[in-house]
């Protein structure tokens, strides 16, 4: 008797979940309005922090705290990501075994294009981030892909970000239901609570930017990926966007997904799109 009951219960809850999923999908598809979302997102932060200059939001915690900003500006005179930048520049110019270089894989030779990443690839029907494109380029030229969370990838993206410094973020969402779905999926991931701490990205970066979380000041979500990749004193090393997502997850005691998982690429797509117009400030230095 008990077994049959739990079986029944399981079936009902499964059906419920399935129904919720499809309905959300159907409802979401026609309701998704990235332009309105981006405007609302930016206005939320502009109103919450009226005296922070719009372009300052890309400086994360330093836009929230004067003392920290002074320490940062002093560090920026001789930033700790200097070595990664030089290494990235050298790697970018070093040809692969087959003679080609990264410049052959990217529009404009890969210089000054970081602000258009991530983009939605209509052939593949999914979001392609700068890190994924770099590894694609390596594999297309017979080279082994780099780890998404280690220094080589950080050095490459640091150099490409540096060539786009100051250019406004310029992410496009093609009129393609799959692109809208990816944007929505990213937005859902951003607001979904996870881990035993039961935090979502928004719990910290929307509800309490500027406040301290133990020794650190929380960065606002607006413009938070504009500074990627970042040199973090805590890691005493470079960190790619993937490394940041993975470590953020484990801090809330959520088991991280594999780097460049759909959710991570989509949430980067969402965060980059809503920051359109704000300057690229990568590579960044952070606590």
């Amino acid at each position: 008797m008990r077994a049959r009951l739990s079986l029944l219960l399981g079936a009902i809850s499964a059906a419920l979940v399935a129904f919720a999923l499809t309905s959300a999908h159907v409802v979401a598809a026609d309701k998704v309005d990235p332009v309105a979302d981006a405007k609302a997102f930016q206005n939320f932060f502009f109103q919450k922090f009226p005296n922070v200059k719009h372009e300052d939001f890309v400086n994360g915690p330093y836009s929230m705290n004067e003392d920290l900003k002074r320490q940062w500006q002093e560090k920026e005179e001789f930033p700790p990501y200097e070595f990664a930048l030089d290494a990235g520049k050298e790697m970018f110019a070093t040809p692969f075994k087959n003679g080609k270089t990264y410049a052959d894989c990217f529009p404009n030779g890969g210089i000054g294009i970081r602000q258009n990443y991530p983009y939605f690839d209509e052939k593949e029907g999914r979001v392609v981030t700068l890190e994924l494109a770099l590894n694609r380029c390596r594999e297309a030229n017979g080279e082994a892909p780099y780890s998404y969370v280690k220094d080589e990838m950080a050095s490459l993206t640091a150099y490409m970000a540096f060539t786009s410094r100051g250019k406004p973020m310029d992410i496009k969402i093609p009129d393609d239901p799959r692109a809208l779905a990816a944007f929505e999926n990213g937005k859902r991931y951003f607001y979904t609570r996870r881990g035993q701490m039961n935090f979502s990205c928004a719990s910290c970066h929307v509800q309490s930017p500027g406040e301290r979380i133990r020794a650190e000041i929380l960065a606002p979500a607006l413009g938070i990926v504009n500074a990627m990749p970042i040199y973090r004193s805590e890691w005493s090393g470079m960190g790619t966007t993937s490394r940041r997502f993975v470590t953020c997850n484990s801090q809330t005691r959520a088991v991280p997904l594999e780097p460049q998982a759909d959710e991570y690429r989509d949430v980067e797509y969402f965060l980059s799109y809503v920051a359109n117009g704000l300057p690229i400030s990568g590579p960044g230095a952070r606590p």
């Binding site: 920290l68 700790p80 701490m197 910290c204 133990r214 020794a215 805590e234 005493s236 484990s250 809330t252």
Partner: protein, 161 residues
């Protein structure tokens, strides 16, 4: 002194004896001198001392007195214990040495700088601090020691893990 095969071993022994006696006699002077002037060799001993008082004694041979002419700048809450920007400037003149000590670190002495004349008495660097600690800056000016201290809070960042 050592290369000659000296036919009169006794003479050499006497000479060596005399030399060593002289050394002992002067025992404290050269060391004191070594302490007073910023010695050239790496102050191995001072860097091995655990406590800040022992490290100062090993490095300079005497104690320092607090002075408001030594301006020590360090964050109240360290952004990160591994990279704490710390700097010191002073209006004292004839400065020959500046040192930084982090009291709560396993080994107190963090860094010691020799200031040649003509060099502005001031240094900025980035230090590691194991935990919330007293930070001490020592300035050796005209043979006397002056100090400034500041408390720095150090804790981890992030929310959990």
């Amino acid at each position: 002194m050592t290369t000659t095969t000296g036919p009169h071993p006794t003479r050499r022994l006497i000479l060596q004896g005399a030399a060593s006696v002289a050394l002992i006699g002067l025992g404290n002077l050269p060391f004191a001198a070594a302490h007073a002037a910023a010695n050239d060799k790496y102050p191995e001993e001072a860097f091995k001392q655990k406590s800040e008082a022992d490290a100062i004694k090993a490095l300079y041979g005497r104690n320092a007195e607090p002075s408001d002419k030594v301006k020590l700048d360090a964050p109240e809450i360290a952004e990160n214990g591994g990279v704490v920007p710390v700097s010191v400037t002073t209006t004292l003149d004839k400065v020959t040495s500046i040192s930084f000590l982090v009291a709560e670190n396993p080994f107190a002495l963090a860094a010691s700088y020799k200031i040649a004349d003509g060099t502005i008495p001031g240094v900025a660097n980035r230090l590691k601090m194991a935990k919330s600690t007293k930070l001490v800056a020592i300035v050796e000016a005209d043979g006397k020691l002056y100090s400034a201290t500041k408390d720095v809070k150090v804790t981890v960042g992030g929310c959990g893990g």
